[in-house]
């Protein structure tokens, strides 16, 4: 049994100090909902675990100058319950609603969900559809922002350096006329891992029933959550009706066919995405 050191920094200064000791074998614990399972299964043998949960500096949800900031150790439950998030980043609140079980939501953190970079991570498509940027700190105490897409390097892989940790995420507030939602499909109604997840964030003009801008992101149908850029362009200026819904579903199906060609799950996912698309439209436009 090799020795394992656990550090629990109380603030960002201590966190930077802790990161000085990090090696490629070290792990950072956000909520532990994935890490502890890997530890129990002996799938990882870290030399050092930096437990983020005592660093209360990183527990916040706030709005400043039109941007929303969420600290890394903010739990999924806290985000789900936040009025600010429900009003100005509803797709993230919805993603948090469908995230794991109550127990998992109480423990899991947004920082952990980002850094863990699971292809099926529920907050990731929502954050992609919000153009989120990830705040990272290094062992010298220097902070920098990275676009979320640059952090997600592949299935359960992030691009951070060994001496870096996610300390937060920011995105611009998407108040009305932005409206957004999140829909997902799993094998059961709750406590389920996404097989397809979809975040839809659009500028909707009620008066003309028109979509004026769109940010669409998909999860669990590729190595990391990604944006469907072409489809976003095609939605702009379109009137919301059944034809648009059908076209939206059809186009998403094409996106999936391009994303996971030859994958065993493709025949199912390219059809089932249509149901997820319809669900999103129902939630956004009551149709």
């Amino acid at each position: 049994m090799s020795s394992l050191q656990v550090l629990t920094p109380k603030n960002n200064t201590e966190l930077a100090e802790a990161l000085k000791q990090a090696t490629p074998k070290s792990k950072i614990l956000g909520g532990g909902t994935d890490l502890v399972i890997l530890l129990n299964k002996d799938e990882i043998e870290p030399d050092l675990i930096i437990d983020m949960t005592a660093n209360k500096e990183l527990n916040y949800i706030k709005e400043e100058d039109g941007d929303i900031y969420i600290g890394a150790i903010t739990t999924i439950t806290e985000i789900h319950d936040s009025e600010l998030i429900n009003e100005k980043a509803r797709c993230l609140a919805k993603a948090c609603e469908k995230f794991g079980s109550t127990q998992i939501r109480n423990k899991a953190t947004i920082g952990g969900n980002i850094a863990n970079a699971s292809p099926a991570g529920d907050t990731l498509p929502a954050l992609k559809a919000l153009d989120a940027e990830v705040s990272v700190i290094n062992s010298k105490g220097e902070a920098r922002f990275l676009p979320l897409g640059d952090v997600l390097a592949g299935p359960n892989k992030n691009s951070l350096n060994v001496d870096e940790a996610v300390i937060g995420v920011k995105f611009s507030a998407h108040a009305k006329p932005w409206i957004s939602t999140f829909a997902k499909l799993g094998t059961r109604t709750a406590v389920t891992i996404s097989r397809i997840s979809l975040a839809v964030n659009v500028v909707y003009d009620e008066a003309t029933n028109t979509i004026n801008d769109a940010k669409i992101a998909l999860g669990a149908v590729g190595k990391a959550a990604f944006r469907a850029a072409k489809l976003e362009e095609e939605l702009k200026g379109k009137v919301v009706n059944k034809e648009l819904r059908a076209k939206f579903a059809e186009k998403l199906s094409e996106v999936i066919q391009e994303s996971i060609p030859g994958r065993a799950s493709l025949p199912y996912k390219k059809e089932a995405i249509k149901g997820v698309a319809y669900q999103a439209f129902e939630d956004l436009f009551s149709m």
Binding site: M1, I37, K41, D42, L185, T187, R188, T189, A190, V191, T192, I193, A249, P267, Y268, E271, A272, K274, G275, V276, Y278, E282, M287
Partner: protein
Amino acid sequence: MPVNKYDVLGKRLDKIEARQKATGKLKFTGDLKFPGMLHCKILRSPHAHAIVKSIDTSEAFKVDGVVDVITYEDVPKILSMHQFLHVPEVMYYDSYLLEKHVRHVGDRVAAVAATTEEAAKEALKKIKVEYEILPAAITAEDALKPDAAQIHEEAKRGDKPVELKGNVLDTCDVTIGDVDKGFADADYVIERTYRTSKPNNGQLERTAVVCVPRDDGRLDVYATSQGIHAMRMNISHSLGIPASKLNCHRMYLGGTFGAHIHTGFIENICAFLALRTGRPVRGEKTREEMFLSCGRHPMIVKVKAGFTKDGKLLALHSDVTDDTGSYAFSGSSKMALTAGFTLSMYKCPNLRITGRSVYTNTPPLTAMRGAGNPQAHWAVENMMEEAAEDLGIDPIELRRMNLLQVGDRFFGQGPQVISTIRSSGNDQLLEKGKKLIGWDEKRNNHIPYPDKPWIRRGVGMARGFHTSGCGSEKPNAFIIDHSCATLKMNEDGTAQLMNAAADLGAGTLSAHASLVAEVIGLKYEDVIVNLGDSDSAPFDGPTHASRGLYGAGQPVVKAAEEVKQILLEWAARMFQCGPEDVEIKESKVFKHNEPENYIPVADVVRKGHFSGWGAAASTASVRPKACPPHFIAIFVEVEVNTLTGQVKVVNAVSGVDTGTVVNLNNVEGQMVGGLHMGMGYALIEDTIFDRKTGEPKNASFAGFHILTVKDMPDPDNIDLVIADTFEPTGPLGAKGIGEGVTNPVAPAVANAIYNAVGVRINDLPMTQEKLLAKIKEVEAKMDDLAMTQKNVKETVRE
């Protein structure tokens, strides 16, 4: 809920241990700790099929805290059985505690005992094993191929060696009547092949055991076991020690669903290590180990049925291919039961069953709620629905006209276990279920939301049964079914029951307490049930086959009647009257019609005991003479999303014919739980193994999903129907309930899906993928049809 004449039965009573459980005070096996206790961990094979070429434990011994390490070279060379259920001639032996020839990923290679669990785990990593990897057969089809590697070289049935050719361990072929003539006379014959999946029991409490050496040289065994005597026989055989050397303790269980009917050998291994080291040894399986040591047998069931044009069943032939996994934990009984149970679904003069039980290089499969019967129901109840459609008869009507009736012969555990049906609530269940689900209104109304035509609804039903125990009119040549109970009165007026039947969490012991209270006339809370052990409790079979109340309850009633007689005689002496002049109610004894002039039962016991009149105690022993079917009818309404293949059960009716209701809470708990488990079997539950390597793909609750409460219909949309019946052979008229409530659920869901979207999936589970693929197939055909019709019209126009 039927009205009854009872004081205690039929009411909603707390389980006797409910408060201990709710407050966390009750000790389950895994909670037990003893001074000097060692922890056992088992080294498991990473290969599905291999021979251990060499094994080196020297480094493992060097780990701090390691006390003992054993391999196949150290364990007794005794070919052993896993469960002790069947009569000695049928009992099946095919395993050693640790194996040189490993037969599935997770098979037992070596075991460590250490002062901490961590040290034991560390030692496992230090054991060096060299394997010679053999080709593996992961499915029954692969194992049956002529060139498949042979998985077992030796096995015994009773004391006779089994001649193993290939991987078939047993076959069956039984005919009743003249099947050929039956099919020849039939106007309509249907033949279908159905497949079932391999769900894991998934019970909350994992297998746990602590074996504690005693000062007298014997061993106390505390374990998650469905039968202390069966476990004692099993361990004593595999270790080659006398049964009396072991004292197996009855423990409360956190659910089993059959996972603890056998010993998974961790119990035997811990006993062996405790005897070797002289120290208490504790073992507890991880969840992954649970997934690698139990589950329901997947079956291929071919059904051929012949009907008259009016729908009367004339002939039925069921052919079963049973995948038993790498060890035959229950011999070939699941093959015999699945095939045999198909014979008991409906009245049919000409019957035949054929089958084969096959070894594969997958974890050993076991009993799981229904013991072969969910598989039988899946085949027969899907087939009946298709037959009804072809014959143009309402599916409920087709079933009604072919029902077994009171007085008919009933095969309770296959054709060897014969009894006569003496109670049936079938008609009540079908009538009430049909009304409550809204059958007539809903069968042809599929679009609940006009603006969302991709959501379709449908209703369906299936019916069936499970046996209550394994009793038969004559002692049978298949399975042990016998129960005993000792009851004594205490000097404070409480009654104390000592028996051995396990309470799997379903409330069996509380039901026994209710029977005692009802028979004698005591308050429910005045009955104490000892957990006890095999040292003090007389022999009983394990709790399985829904026999905990029906079978094990019979000697409880008999003993209570005998104790009551003693109390009445003593009270009569005190009242100076005849025993027929007094009665007991709510723990008080009084002369008929003079309840105000009573003597507390406590005073009667004291008077008797202190005056030397004797002891108010009795031991009763009963061999149940029947295994009455508890009949079940399940009706469900489903919503199918034709875009995603998702199925939601929105309404359900569970109807049971369980005879006298002993405790309404427990009966309803079984009904809802059975519905939930059956829905999971229908829709999602399956354990997956790589077809080549046999590696488990989803051996955890993250990968193997069980439906959650949110997948259940809203509680207001579940109707529970209990038929008003009385089983003359049962304890105070009661029958079983635990397994029947699951059996017909999966086909009921299948039939509702068919009603909703016209799609039938014959192999379980009916996953979103399978459904959506079939729905698309049907839609494509409809499009083709529409196109053809359009073309035809256009051609005509031209």
